[in-house]
Subunit: 333 residues, 2 copies
């Protein structure tokens, strides 16, 4: 194995403002030897997620990514060599492989995955994105038929699934996304009832027109001004599923929070609840079964944005933070 090299992308310094290509560099090293209890994985696909950027700020639900280490990131890979009885060469696994060709990962940090085709679905609809959309919408948003569901970052990996599941649950669905093209795509291709272009007008007014009966469930991927625009439009007993705060990740975090907290939460008896997909893993089988049946029946479209080449990873993340992707973005190695 050591005749080949392992390409790695390092985070050379933590960004103080917007993330830039210069924050990363490519490096080459030898392929690692797995120690006892470790598994050597050849990475096939690297997942790109807005949360990657949040990890650079400090500890979140995981420890911070430190400068001069391999950039962290989830990946799908194939087991090459195993020093753990739970894994064997050829197994397909998911774990935090990082941005590199090969990773030696402790077996307890890996999940064995089914060898389905296309493998990309393990990072999109049957991966973190699909499960996050499923659990956040159904367990926290708890939409009832006829209710209005609003989702931000609606053209992204999670948002595009949230909106489609909400349609399956017979809700009125409004997506918030950046740009007229994305908004048209949400309504014409994904079946959203309406879309609001946050770059194009007045979000508050456009949302009021798109959700004339108010908002029962807001699936929040972005925080900031868009959360502030949704709060006064929430209906009594509305639910806000707090999935992320993309608007706050890239650059200097906002000095203020949204107005209306906690006043509107009291008056409207709202629930705002944060969640992480890992909290719901004991319900994973049911979620995957539902997602598979919706995909197979054609009710749920799988949207992937696959880019070739490890060297493209930094720019792909920068572009994702700027909102250039539709659906789940990933790198193929």
């Amino acid at each position: 194995m050591t005749s080949k090299t392992n390409r790695q992308i390092l985070l050379v310094e933590k960004p103080t403002g917007k993330l830039a290509p210069g924050n990363f560099k490519m490096s080459e090293t030898s392929i690692p030897e797995p120690k006892a209890g470790e598994v050597l994985v050849r990475v096939r696909y690297i997942s790109l997620d807005a949360a990657n950027r949040a990890w650079m700020h400090g500890a979140t639900y995981r420890s911070a990514v430190e400068a001069n280490t391999v950039m962290a990131g989830g990946g799908i890979g194939e087991v090459i060599e195993s020093k753990d009885p739970g894994f064997a060469p050829g197994d397909i696994v998911f774990g935090d492989t990082g941005w590199q060709d090969y990773a030696a990962v402790p077996a307890r940090h890996l999940a064995k995955m089914p060898r389905i085709e296309p493998l990309t679905h393990l990072l999109s609809i049957y991966g973190i994105a699909g499960l996050t959309a499923y659990f956040g919408l159904l367990n926290i948003g708890r939409p009832k038929a006829g209710e209005t569901v609003v989702v931000s970052a609606a053209a992204g990996s999670v948002g595009s699934i949230v909106g489609q599941i909400a349609k399956i649950k017979d809700c009125r669905v409004v997506g918030i996304a950046g740009g007229a093209d994305k908004c048209n795509w949400l309504t014409s291709e994904l079946g959203f009832d309406a879309a609001v272009d946050y770059k194009g007008g007045n979000v508050y007014k456009d949302l009021k027109a798109a959700a004339p009966k108010g908002i029962d469930v807001y699936f929040d991927n972005v925080g900031g001004d868009i959360l502030e625009a949704c709060l006064p439009q929430m209906n009594l007993y509305g639910r806000i599923a707090c999935c992320g705060a993309i608007s706050q990740y890239d650059g200097v975090p906002s000095e203020t929070g949204p107005r209306g907290v906690p006043g509107l939460i009291v008056v409207k008896r709202l629930i705002m609840q944060g969640f992480i997909v890992m909290d719901y893993m004991e319900q994973r089988d049911q979620a995957l079964s539902d997602l598979q049946s919706w995909v197979q029946s054609g009710r749920l479209k799988v949207l992937e944005d696959v880019i070739d080449g490890l060297e493209k990873t930094p720019q792909a993340l920068i572009g994702l933070l700027a909102g250039e992707n539709r659906g789940k973005r990933m790198i193929r190695l």
Copy 2:
């Protein structure tokens, strides 16, 4: 009945900044004649609540109080005359009587109360204050023995009960209040484990010292900077019961919300939930039974701040908003 007069306090203009005595004036009129379906009530005690001030801003969970009308407010009174079969002279009732000696109130807006002594308890421990503390803490905060519960406006009508119930539930209890005297009183008289003086030091640091294991339940009466100081100290899966936002009521509402929303809500998987006591009225009998048994066994002290004279009502509310009361403030007529 018309030989006597009815003194009323009118809100003559809505305050634009801090509430002042000049926003009110005393007026005299004849005692009203109840119409069919109405009940004539002689008001005995008027409840003073921070929410009175919020009603002047606009519609909340009730319609706004308008200028040149009798100031709204809850009261306990005795039925003088009834044009509704559900009430008879001598009945003790609770309702929005407003700030006046006599009120003709639609019967459907009145609740018949037991004739207990002292009657003041119907406005404090067995009234809105006690039930708000009970339902907010137990149904939304859901404290477990050994957890840390923090409550703001801790010397107030609701906060002082929240802290005592949390002690009954075997929690570590930290109160936030204004001034060293109040803080001493919370720990020496009410059994709080610690108190933080928000006027006296650094709330964030003092809270960290008082709640070294972090906060599991925050019962928020105030919003604003104190909510912002609590958010980063919440433990994983913590619960924030949003009861009110006193810090925002008197004056111009804040231009910003608390930092950390929604970022910390996501990372820590918090629940922030607003509530209004009326939402839980079907569980009222159980609540009253618990509260009575705690009062009778001496585990729960009833704290009342009774001021004599209708003419004192404006100043009593202004003082309450400035935090001068301990326990439940009310006016005796």
